[in-house]
Symmetry: C2
Subunit: 317 residues, 2 copies
């Protein structure tokens, strides 16, 4: 069985980009054609929203599949709408797998002992999409409860060829409050990074150059990103905060190894709702939203290739 | 609108106990009569498990409703079984509300900005069970991302008369790894507790003696529990770790104010699967599992009344 990081890197090399497209549907921002057709089919408000989310997300997947290796549905937006919302999420995740995309479920789960096992069993499908109710290749998880609570996730991930991204240094403005506190001579995020390295190495297959336990480190904090890349050399990184949150490709550059591997850089809003962005709004408008999405994906891929080591991926045959 | 803590304390005074019953179904441990009847109705494996979980959980609710104020379904166990599992969870939560029980959804969610808003909107029903897809009175949340990420939850909680329990010092063996690190002269959990106090006070209604932003502090660490009770005098506590995890009523005693209010103490496995416990196994066995559950609830209530300030609740008319 191939580990997650190996499968991810194979796909990144094939698509020649580390761009990760977030799937973040929000009802008020959906193109009116999607909202109208979702409403026309009737049902409860949640069913209507879920139908709109499913259609919109599947269109984004179709637009992304040719160009990128991996997508990241934000579970919260679907979960907000109850059972219909989560049914839509499941359909979207299955569709992504059918299109050959790797799926990182951004659920930020975390709990202790057998409860952690239940989350792991529910989400970490890994190589076989049928292996879990929610067919994710990888899952984001929260480390606050302690390194012992990462173990049930890491253990099942190895069994299923799945991956994890542990929140280490997040992209939000208040991330520093706890994550940057000086603790026993180091920063809290460094202590978490050490636990990630410990667990990632424990479960890494000898033949794999990267472990399947990765880390989330925001592009909005480039210094910490460089420091954490050095602290976790064999840990795959998921870098949020590019685009709408203010991070640039130059900010994200520190995440990559010299060969352009080792990290994926996420953009969600800037891609999903590209036609609302200044410039794009004038050029495309809502009527041509699909073209705006496609153009924004192309722009992101070019930006990463130009300003990070991801450009190395384009130099190979 | 009454805040969560006020509604909780009213119910605790009515039932005269701070016992919180966790709803933690596990397929392999269900009474065989439940498993058999769930399987007999057919469907996929997930549908069968979900049906068993729903029946079993609703029976626990019926047995608990007369005696306790509040229950805590563990979301992971339902989520593991996909859409059917989460449908069962919704049914169980609705049933609890119909029985007059307050519901704390133990989902340990946490995310940034608008994503945190989505989780809040999806879970925090508060006073009106129809206000959210998942009709929780309160939700457990994870603080690692920073105090700013607690705000969207706290803001909506106030609007809806809902509550929060922020993970501060958890009950698992590895909790100390990050939570007890010395940070800038204090422990990490104290820094988190300070943020909880800050957010709890910011949103507390003047007329309420407790805020609606509470904290999770494990009974398995009685010293930290006493310290944290003192640091957060107006913050309602949720105390896990009693019973199967090894915490005793004496360990939990530090969570209470002198009047027996201010905390709920949780037991899950020890109640749900009481007939598997030594002593109970001989006395009841699987055939009389309902009686074992009822007896274990009575035993817990008596134990808390005898060994904590919760005994004060029994002295009032």
């Amino acid at each position: 069985m191939a580990g997650f990081a190996t499968r991810l890197h194979q796909q990144i090399q094939r698509k020649r980009t580390p761009a990760l497209i977030g799937i973040d549907p929000r009802w008020d921002w959906l193109p009116s054609e999607i909202r109208q057709s979702a409403a026309a089919a009737g049902g409860s408000q949640s069913e209507i929203v879920a139908r709109g989310f499913e259609r919109f997300s599947c269109e984004i997947l179709e637009l992304a599949a040719e160009h990128v290796a991996v997508v990241k549905p934000q579970v919260a937006f679907f979960e907000q709408y109850g059972v219909p919302g989560l049914q839509a999420l499941q359909t979207v995740m299955r569709k992504a797998r059918q299109l050959g995309l790797l799926v990182i479920a951004d659920a930020k789960r975390g709990d202790i002992g057998t409860t952690a096992e239940a989350y792991a069993a529910g989400w970490l499908a890994g190589e076989d999409p049928e292996a879990a109710a929610w067919p994710a290749d990888a899952l984001t998880i929260n480390p606050y409860l302690g390194g012992d609570t990462l173990e049930p996730f890491a253990s099942l991930a190895r069994d299923r060829g799945a991956g994890l991204y542990v929140l280490v240094r997040t992209s939000n403005p208040g991330a520093a409050e706890f994550q940057d506190r000086l603790t026993e001579g180091t920063r809290m995020y460094s202590a978490v990074a050490s636990a990630v390295v410990r667990v990632s190495e424990k479960y890494r297959r000898d033949e794999d150059s990267y472990g399947d336990v990765g880390a989330v480190v925001g592009a909005t904090w480039p210094e910490q990103l460089q420091e954490l890349r050095a602290l976790m050399p064999r840990v795959p990184l998921l870098v949020p905060g590019y685009g709408s949150q203010g991070g640039t490709s130059a900010d994200a550059a520190g995440a990559f190894a010299a060969d352009g591997l080792g990290a994926v850089v996420n953009s969600s809003r800037g891609i999903n709702f590209a036609w609302r962005r200044p410039g794009y709004q004038e050029q495309f408008g809502e009527g041509r939203w699909r073209e705006a999405v496609a153009a924004s994906i192309g722009e992101m891929i070019a930006d990463l290739a130009e300003n990070t080591a991801a450009g190395e991926l384009r130099k190979r045959s």
